[in-house]
Amino acid sequence: MTDNNPIVTLDDALGMGLTAEEFDRICDHMGRTPNLTELGVFSAMWSEHCSYKSSKKWLKTLPTTGEQVIQGPGENAGVIDIGDGWAAVFKIESHNHPSYIEPYQGAATGVGGILRDVFTMGARPVALLNALRFGAPDHELTPYLASGVVAGIGGYGNCIGIPTVGGEVNFDPSYNGNILVNAMAVGLARADKIFYSAASGAGNPVIYIGAKTGRDGIHGATMASAEFSEDDASKRPTVQVGDPFAGKLLMEASLELMASDSVVAIQDMGAAGLTSSSVEMAAKGGLGMEIDLDLVPVREDHMSAYEIMLSESQERMLVVLKPDATEKAKAILDKWDLDFATIGTVTDSGRLVLNKDGGLAADIPLAPLVDDAPEYDRPHEDSPELPQLASGDLAIEANIKSVLLTLLGSHHLCSRRWIWEQYDRDVMADTVAASTGDAALVRVHGSNRGLAISTDCTPRYVKADPMTGGKQAVAEAYRNISASGALPLAVTNNLNFGNPEKPRIMGQITGSVMGMGEAAKALGTPVVSGNVSLYNETDGNAINPAPVIGMVGVIDDVDQAVGIGLTAAGKSVVIIGQHPEQNDGWLGCSVYADVMTNNPEAAPPPVDLDAEALTGQFIRSAIANSQISACHDIGDGGAMPALAEMVMASHGLGVDVTLPNGAGHGWAFGEDQSRYLVETDDADALLAMAKELGVDGQIIGQTIPSAELKFNDGMTISSVEMNEAYEGGLPRIMAGKNA
């Protein structure tokens, strides 16, 4: 053994985040005490981040199959059939811990990583989305963290040339010490040209391509599996540094390589770098792999076996080539000026063998490393049931106008323009709708088929009632996709929680996964990929749980899709999914309650999945029949903020609103689920069709040729007033003037 690869002790294992019991198991499997490199490989593969040891038991309960599913969880990304021979390849992934420590690079490499997951499967990425959570708007670090993260997301996506078309942002004090940065990428491939990671063919060459390996990001996966404490700044060296230019070259080279009939299997080096890529490729193929670490392109001298295996340097891939394809493959990498090195071979030994400096650096049996990774059934405790408050318990004395303007300017609802203007939304020239509507719409290049994509979660609902919150995240995404006219097909999920070793947190995980599963089943949108980020706690304080959903749907003709902006005067405005006599609504756990009241703990609005499915189906068919000319889902903040957004998104149009008898703040700002605001030429025909399906609808007004909301009690709110409030919110927060 060399000096930098000593035999380890239990203390070394504990230092890498393993438990004593796990260390014993490793020693048993090895038949001896491992050396530092071997322990590093085990600790990375058995980290929460790579092994899903706390969540696996519950993730298994999610629905993952359906006739549209080509590849479910377990590969680099999920794959679904979207028709015409095309497949959508997509996944969402977190980069929470690194983004808090170094916001620009943390977010940038999050984007780079998720893009690699998608193009590794042979798909050209066509869209990026994100789901971001920052601390309180007036917290001193919020502007710094938010501006760094946004610049990092843009810095990577803009340069590599994939449009960032959508996302969501929340601000809440529970994220003061643990921001959440989840990035989603969607790619397109021919359905019969998908590439997988399982190695095959003992004797085939193992090739390293891309950027060189450095000392950055060593043991990042392990960092992502522990709570933060005060000294986290010391972890800055474990954050990777992104190079989107190298990412672009690697993407083009990889896609060209995969089109050249040279590749047996391919895997990106993401979390746990060369460790997870080599282990997963060999283990999935039921084979082994032997690698000479002296052949790995490095950018620093004297890197040890441990450092090379655990580095998370970016923009690297591991490829198993066909035996005679090396020359052809090298020519492609040369064209793109990228490193190409044959570093090993596929073996049939069932072992990962690593050589360094002419000697053996590691010899690990793969089966136990992968199959015997720990799986815990951690104790879990339900969150206490919260009271269902009547709107009368919450409503304050104020007119609808002043409340509406306050809510539109609040951090919950204000325009996200400050953020999305920093993202290139139009590169690739197929963006139909981005950032301002319900779902983003991206055309399949060269056709009129479209992908509709949305990311959603309402953490305050999940915290109040994990089961309902889990359902609601799926339902909200389903509604966003349906509101554009597209058919929801499948989801990817990103489960962001605190420390699973605490029963209450574990209860949030189990509850929301159960809710999510139930909704995914009922709405016909199986889970095809995902990511789990636990231990989002600082000094013992956990984040509000955020089980984020990224949903993908398809529309046959993007010109059939509708936006949220009103289109003409003299049309009717109807709330679909609401009883014609409705004059109240659910204010508990709402944006209204948070902004306008002392926000007593209360149950979130219930989610009726049958109603959700039925209403969504009705909306989609009415859009397809051209009965609806504008549509907006009613989400955070309720009906009036949604209506205001429709007015602000139109050119010189408004709505003459007829308030139902006795309508108060519950009606205007309640967050009852499964509702859409629509503009239609013929409300009677639309409501008759709805009734046939068992869907309710309430006519609330007519569109008018002036940019305002005009109420039948004489109150008017001009588009200019709404815009001022709506557009002013985020710039104020980012300037640190929200205190």
């Binding site: 340069c159 230019f245 993202y423 590169v427």
Partner: protein, 228 residues
């Protein structure tokens, strides 16, 4: 009609420009790799947007020294038509085919938004297809798009009628110049009127499906002017 589109490592609008040009002309443009020296006898060379060579050193600086650009300079010296979009504009400025520089946006942030462009030339050379004062909505997406030149140069390009496009208010809009460009300049031509550089991306507005067809109108005018 032969159009050639140059691709550098890091170009990311090359496919979009090729698609748009093919749609307009019905003929596939020639894709030219930066190491190639045969441009394919083009009537018009388009240098697309993106982040050539990762914007390292200075936007467009490394690309301007590539073998393909040597040929583009030759083509231009023979009076050939050249159009640079966004990073392509930056490359043309770096070659010296166009005057001035493109520096960091005034807001110090990347900006992606629709801008309202006004034409300032009338019926000559690469701008032959435009009337003075036409307006078109075309998006920008850049971090270094602020047109900058010293006062003498600004005066010279004004006097020579080299200003091709300026950012102009839509209605009563006040924040219409997205990057703080001098004289609201969005695009300029060379002294001989045959080289055009512009920051906005016309290839992204090819139909109402993607938010408008003003880009198709703009590109069609440039292509037709290059044909004659």
């Amino acid at each position: 009609m032969n159009i050639s589109v140059i691709t550098f490592p890091g170009s990311n609008c090359d496919r979009d420009v090729i698609t748009a040009a093919a749609e307009i002309t019905g003929k596939q443009p020639t894709a030219v790799w930066h190491k190639d020296t045969d441009l394919g006898n083009p009537d018009l060379v388009i240098i697309p947007g993106g982040f050539s060579f990762g914007d390292y050193l200075r936007c467009g600086a490394i690309a301007s020294k590539s073998p393909a650009m040597d040929e583009v300079i030759e083509h231009s010296l023979r009076g050939g038509m050249v159009m640079g979009i966004c990073n392509g504009f930056q490359v043309l400025v770096e070659t010296g085919l166009l005057p001035g520089a493109l520096i960091r946006n005034k807001g110090l942030k990347f900006v992606c938004r629709d801008t309202n462009l006004k034409t300032h030339q009338h019926g000559k050379d690469i701008m032959a297809g435009f009337q003075d004062g036409e307006e078109m909505v075309i998006p920008v997406a850049h971090n270094e798009g602020q047109y900058f030149a010293d006062d003498d140069t600004l005066k010279r390009i004004q006097d020579n009628g080299q200003i091709a496009f300026t950012y102009t208010p839509m209605g009563d809009e006040t924040d219409y110049n997205p990057n703080g460009a001098a004289l609201d300049i969005a695009g300029i031509t060379s002294e001989n009127g045959r080289v055009l550089g512009m920051m906005p991306h016309p290839e992204r507005k090819m139909s109402d499906t993607v938010g408008g067809a003003d880009g198709r109108r703009l590109l069609t005018a440039i292509i037709e002017a290059s044909q004659s």
